[in-house]
């Protein structure tokens, strides 16, 4: 009798089918939670890492939750208006142990984001602390709102 280990089993000739189901399930969940008067849930893209993007007049701020990822395993690049975060979350090396629970996920990731405005790629600052990544992307002079003073006569 052939015994298949479930996680290795894939849909034949349908790459990404499980991801599509997963995405549909998430959207259904969100819809249902809105109908049932639940709290606001984030409109998630489903791609790791989860982000919060905010902006003010001078800067764009990007925050991400990346627990267990070392700074050297993370790559950040800005090309034009596209910010790309990529890297790998590596499993803890443990030998000759019995797992009771295994909920933490690992693997590689790549997430690209189109920024709402041009940024000065040279002046981007990144900080990684306690599993949180914080990016500050300053806007160049020409996109900052300019105050126009009206000369009275």
């Amino acid at each position: 009798m052939a015994i298949f280990r479930y996680p290795n089993w894939r849909w034949p000739d349908l790459p990404g089918a499980m991801e599509d189901f997963e995405r549909a399930r998430r959207q259904m969940d969100r819809l249902l939670s809105v109908f049932s008067g639940g709290t606001e849930t984030a409109a998630s893209s489903g791609v790791f890492p989860p982000l919060i993007v905010t902006e003010d007049e001078d800067k764009i701020y990007v925050e991400a939750e990346i627990p267990g990822i070392k700074a050297e395993d993370l790559e950040i690049s800005v090309v034009g208006r596209t910010l790309t975060l990529s890297g790998e979350r590596k499993p803890e090396e443990a030998q000759e142990v019995n797992y009771h629970r295994r909920e933490r996920k690992w693997g590689s990731f790549r997430k690209a984001l189109t920024l709402p405005e041009d940024v000065n790629a040279e002046a981007v600052k990144a900080e990684c602390k306690d599993g949180l990544l914080k990016l500050v992307l300053p806007k160049p002079e020409h996109v900052k709102p300019r105050k126009i003073t009206i000369n009275g006569q």
């Binding site: 790459p15 990404g16 991801e19 997963e22 998430r26 984030a42 409109a43 998630s44 893209s45 489903g46 791609v47 790791f48 890492p49 989860p50 982000l51 919060i52 993007v53 905010t54 902006e55 003010d56 007049e57 800067k59 701020y61 925050e63 939750e65 990346i66 627990p67 267990g68 990822i69 070392k70 979350r89 803890e92 443990a94 000759e96 142990v97 019995n98 797992y99 009771h100 629970r101 295994r102 909920e103 933490r104 996920k105 690992w106 693997g107 590689s108 990731f109 984001l113 709402p116 990684c128 306690d130 599993g131 949180l132």
Partner: protein, 132 residues
């Protein structure tokens, strides 16, 4: 397609039990627990929790872990939001006897690592069979 592409695991909010006095969401951290011959190791994803804001409590066989995330100020207006900041709370019931004096806890890159060494009595004993 890569072998494993990381997807966002949506944070699960704590449903019942001790309600917090702070108006801040509380989430259940994802954990790995593994057992070796000498110890039980627990890893918990708790991004945003600084080392001094972690609280571990072992009361008889109830292990409680709690992590507090300092209030996060979002600057400017929000364009895109995929997660919410919140505290972490989770409770476990331990089955084997733990040597309380030797519990080690550390936190690195937002991952809590708890090593709970087994008490001498709970360690497996090897019995040598002697041939005569």
């Amino acid at each position: 397609m890569a072998e494993t592409d990381l997807q966002i695991e949506e944070k699960k909010a704590v449903q019942a039990g001790g309600e917090s006095t702070r108006d801040f969401p509380v989430f259940i951290p994802a954990v790995d627990i593994y057992e070796s011959e000498n110890a039980l190791t627990l890893l918990a994803d708790m991004p945003g929790v600084p080392i001094d804001k972690i609280d571990i409590d072992l009361d008889s066989d109830q292990l409680t872990i709690r992590g507090t995330v300092p209030q996060q100020e979002l600057k400017g207006k929000v364009i895109f939001k995929e997660f919410t900041y919140g505290d972490y709370y989770r409770q476990f019931t331990l089955s084997s006897d733990i040597d309380r004096g030797k519990i080690e806890a550390s936190i690195k890159e937002g991952v809590l690592k708890l090593v709970l060494p087994k008490a001498e009595a709970a360690k497996p004993k090897k019995i040598t069979v002697q041939s005569t």
